[in-house]
Point group: C2
Chain length 426, copies 2
């Protein structure tokens, strides 16, 4: 049974162990294996030190069924994985001529000359089997040592992932009785607490073969269903989508900006944004999506009172009476953005991003995190909503505010009431 | 000698091992220790599994001098660190009444009632010494086991860092002959390759007691000097600042936006931005800094031709003849931003963020990554610069473009020529 397989992962390299780089390969491989239905047993992180590497290889060779070693395959002198394996195996290092030829061919295709230093990448312990690297010049290799099958992989994330997902996973599948390939489907919402979602998704009543998981992916919450691909998983995904209903912002492979773009283009509408506290963040989020020029007309970053008056036609007396963070001014900003453009829809954002609290001109408290939004449709309605974000940092408040605004637009474009069932204290 | 100390770090928790969360505590502790002059020997990542935890504790107790265990101290049933240690030590778990009282007092101060489940956090192996948690309710604890002194620490990053920097580091300092406390000074530049910087900083001729390091911190490059605090380090920092000269954007504790804000306020000037391909990203970067309202007047996100004409007064024939990504239009955008505001300085950005290449109206190639910038000063000069970014992703091109634009402003405010010695193929 796959559950009894012991799988260890060894990250090598001073730059990982000194914290110079976050070990994203380690978290990626953990997630990848989990999605295949197997759980890593241990992860080791080891310096570029020959004795330490030999010791860890020997330890793992006796305790694990599968050992994946990452990094240390490059041409420089601190790349020690092959040398350490040779010592652990008690085998000499020999030049693998076939791989030298392959490297030469790879360099030729890139119009580059292979340096003599690269020969080291073909100097490998006798008896290993080479694993081709389809996207780089450092080969992987594998060998049985005591109880464990060792797989050595390159540190470059793109090369590592390609090799693991491809050749290594298919080799593992032939050698071990792995669970059927798992599929992960991801659904994104935002603004609800995990306990709200647990309650909301209660009716799913999942069988033990399907796992439900949550993950904070600021500003979103990721909901994951993991199971063997098939009609059962598909049916549960449909059920989950129904339970989430209008709270589902987008699914795996998409983004909130992409969903908005798709709906804006389908509706043949154009958009303008008037931003104060978010200061261009909402516009930048939409424009990050290629093709946004098809519907995004223009944005106004009206940070000063003068900008709000001159660019958007907000009246000075409104600012003086109600303050910049008020429903009056939010609505005036959205109306002004329509007047100052040919866009069909305008969205405005004004708020207190912090770090300090404010007060209204009337002396009412205006705490940090208070943000007011207005969505105005040319020839149609204007909806103004008041929100209080509980996040403490200026960055988080601005990020949540941009997301909230874009979600108002998503709801409008989906034919939903712009106001959702959130309690607006987020 | 500190160099011979073997220090292991053990991260516990399924959420780390399944890749649900990146193990930022592990990379932080690695960097922290390195900055103190000591290198971690190994990192282990272990699931919430009693047998595995006991096995790893026993292994480390025989091979290491110092073992830092992170996580697994909470009140839920998958928090197993104390139980596993009790088994490894062969000691019973007992309630530590003193800690119960301290927890009660902590909850009282937060106006909350302690739940009975929290009692588990005071159920610890007999013989351990408690380490107070100044910022949370889970105590740490320490115990000698075989060769190693074990330190158990909470998983919440803020609590972990406070405990390690404070009580644990001072305990380690009394028990072991650690190197003198190190200081790290960081300097940020951008746009240069690491080999350029190595050459630039060649004259530093550092003694072996001072370490120079580089780290990519997109879009910046971080240059680090690590050494014992003192006049030698200070003198080398001055020398490094001189060698970097105008290429130094900011030092540790500041940011490019903060530097610009400081100089804008000192100069009593106000700013406006006209953005096309960055779409509000440059404005958002500046507004992320609290207090930016003191100088940031307004931004124009002019994504469409109509927006460029109507908001900034760009002439349609200019767009037709030169295209939106041209020096003519970049300069017209900056001039228009000055005309449409009362700001003293205007900065414009127009370019091809990708994913596709474009062509000019004359049929010349306009590859992805080509971005044109213009800085216009009211009553002064206009400087227009053309840049070709080599980055492949739309996100990276937009991020580098926003940084490049802000750096033009920094150079102007510092009294430097706006054009730097970069080769403008970045």
């Amino acid at each position: 049974m796959a559950e009894q397989l012991i799988i260890d992962f060894i990250s090598t390299g001073d730059e990982v162990l000194t914290g110079e780089i976050d070990d994203t390969n380690a978290s990626w491989v953990s997630r990848f294996l989990l999605e295949q239905g197997v759980l890593l047993s241990r992860r080791y992180t080891v310096a570029d030190n020959l004795d330490e590497l030999v010791a860890v290889f020997s330890e793992c060779s006796r305790r694990a069924d599968i050992v994946i070693v990452n990094g240390g395959l490059g041409p420089t002198e601190d790349d020690l994985s092959a040398a350490a394996l040779a010592i652990a195996l008690g085998q000499p290092l020999v030049i693998f001529d076939d791989w030298v030829e392959q490297m030469r061919a790879k360099y030729l295709r890139m119009n580059r000359v292979m340096s003599p230093a690269n020969l080291k990448q073909a100097l490998l312990p006798q008896g290993i089997d080479i694993i081709d690297n389809l996207v780089g010049t450092a080969c992987g290799f594998q060998v049985q040592h005591h109880r464990a099958m060792f797989y050595f992989t390159p540190g470059v994330p793109h090369e590592f992932k390609t090799m693991l997902r491809g050749k290594i996973w298919s080799d593992l599948s032939t050698r071990f009785n792995l669970p059927p390939r798992q599929r992960v489907r991801k659904f994104f919402t935002y603004g609800y607490g995990e306990s709200d979602l647990v309650e909301m998704l209660q009716p799913l009543q999942l069988p033990p073969t399907i796992t439900l998981g949550y993950r904070a992916a600021m500003p979103f919450i990721e909901i994951k269903l993991t199971a063997a691909a098939g009609p059962e998983l598909n049916a549960r995904c449909v059920q989950l989508e129904q339970l989430l209903g209008e709270r589902l912002l987008y699914c795996d492979g998409s983004s909130l900006a992409a969903e908005i773009q798709r709906m804006m283009i389908a509706a043949g509408k154009t958009l303008t944004l008037a931003e104060s506290c978010t200061g261009g963040l909402a516009a930048s989020t939409l424009i990050a999506e290629p093709g946004s020029s098809a519907y995004f007309d223009r944005g106004f970053v009206t940070y000063s009172w003068a900008a709000k008056c001159e660019q958007l036609g907000v009246v000075l007396s409104q600012l003086e009476q109600s303050g910049a963070v008020s429903e009056t001014v939010a609505a005036a900003m959205a109306a002004g953005a329509l007047n100052s453009s040919a866009a069909d829809i305008a969205l405005s954002i004004t708020g207190v991003a912090g770090p300090n609290d404010h007060v209204t001109p009337a002396g009412e408290p205006l705490p940090k995190g208070r943000v007011i939004f207005s969505l105005a449709v040319r020839g149609g309605c204007t909806t103004t909503l008041v929100c209080q974000f509980r996040y403490r940092s200026r960055t988080q408040i601005r990020q949540m505010a941009a997301t909230f605004a874009l979600d108002m637009l998503r709801r409008y474009l989906s034919g939903l009431p712009v106001k959702s069932d959130l309690n607006y204290i987020l």
